[in-house]
Symmetry: C2
Subunit: 200 residues, 2 copies
């Protein structure tokens, strides 16, 4: 059956597909926003990842009548009291400029010694069903912030993130499968697999 992923990010759709494949769930047809009739997308002005994930999932289900999954995620830096957090994608002021966001974060953290560069990628996934049933799951991936970019894969802050569990490689140096097995979003999505399997 159809499942709307309230996003335009094809990498997130591919990640969800891999998670479902590994769980042996077939028959889920993942649609992105570009695959459904356009609707007014809500302002993501929540203060938490949870707020934003529900804002997006509820709006998608309401507009399309489809089960809708939405992810809100970001990088929480200890030294910055958990920021950029929900502002990760627009940390430098505009929206979605990965290079500017990475440059800014490197500058803000330039003086901070290694032992205080801890951070975590956080993903919160909300799933809203046509029945009104709602589910939410949170995944975290701990690591530290590098001092320069490393690796060509991934997106967002991946080149600056050195996971605790990746043998010294940045998250931009992991294969998609290696990243799924460790990542914040992989962990959050995995928690929703049992729900998705019930209606798939």
């Amino acid at each position: 059956m159809d499942l709307l992923l309230a996003s335009n990010n094809k990498k997130k759709a591919a990640e969800l597909q891999r998670v479902l494949d590994r769980a042996g769930i077939s028959g889920v047809n993942i649609l992105l926003l570009s695959d459904v009739d356009p609707y007014d997308e809500p302002v993501e002005d929540g203060r938490t990842f949870e707020d934003n994930a529900f804002i997006k999932a509820r709006a998608g289900m309401k507009a399309t009548g489809l089960p809708t999954l939405a992810d809100d995620s970001g990088l929480a830096v200890d030294e910055l009291a958990g920021m950029p957090g929900v502002l990760s994608a627009r940390w430098s002021g505009g929206h979605g400029d990965d290079e500017a966001n990475n440059d800014l974060l490197l500058g803000q953290m330039a003086h901070v010694p290694d032992e205080r560069r801890g951070c975590a990628f956080v993903s919160v996934c909300a799933l809203v069903l046509p029945s009104g049933e709602e589910h939410i799951a949170r995944g975290e991936w701990r690591g530290m912030l590098l001092r320069e970019r490393r690796g060509e894969g991934g997106f967002g802050y991946d080149p600056l993130f050195l996971p605790d569990d990746a043998e010294g490689r940045s998250s931009a140096e992991l294969s998609p499968e290696e990243k799924d097995a460790r990542s914040h979003r992989g962990k959050a999505l995995a928690q929703l697999v049992p729900v998705i399997s019930q209606f798939a």
Copy 2:
């Protein structure tokens, strides 16, 4: 007697002088860093205002043998979990670029509604005496973050700060005397007046 203010900011020296004048304390000769033999200024890499104020005050007293006062201050925005905080002066990556810092903060907060724009200016003043005696005082000034600059006075984030107690004027629209009577630094300095009066 001489008192070193571990800063190069003449506006801070003038503010301290006004506080002492109002308290009726004469005979304190405020020196700035430019008035004493140069010494290696320490890296301000503390995680808190308190840490940084002590780093600066201890270094100044050690290098000069003079009673040394140091202030560390910044803007703590509720929506940003208290940041820019200790990074206020270098929020945009470099150091001391008020225009870039203000622009960045406006961009990061552009989507945030009025009822979630609360913030506070915070000042922590440390005073270290040649005897080794140490004092510290904290002052806060609550208000909200404006959506555009207002006023020509002050420095730093003053044009964006609408104090709760200034009848609708920004902190860049207050006279120095009006600002002293309300400000975070005025409140912190006032707490140290009794100590200063003992050795003045």
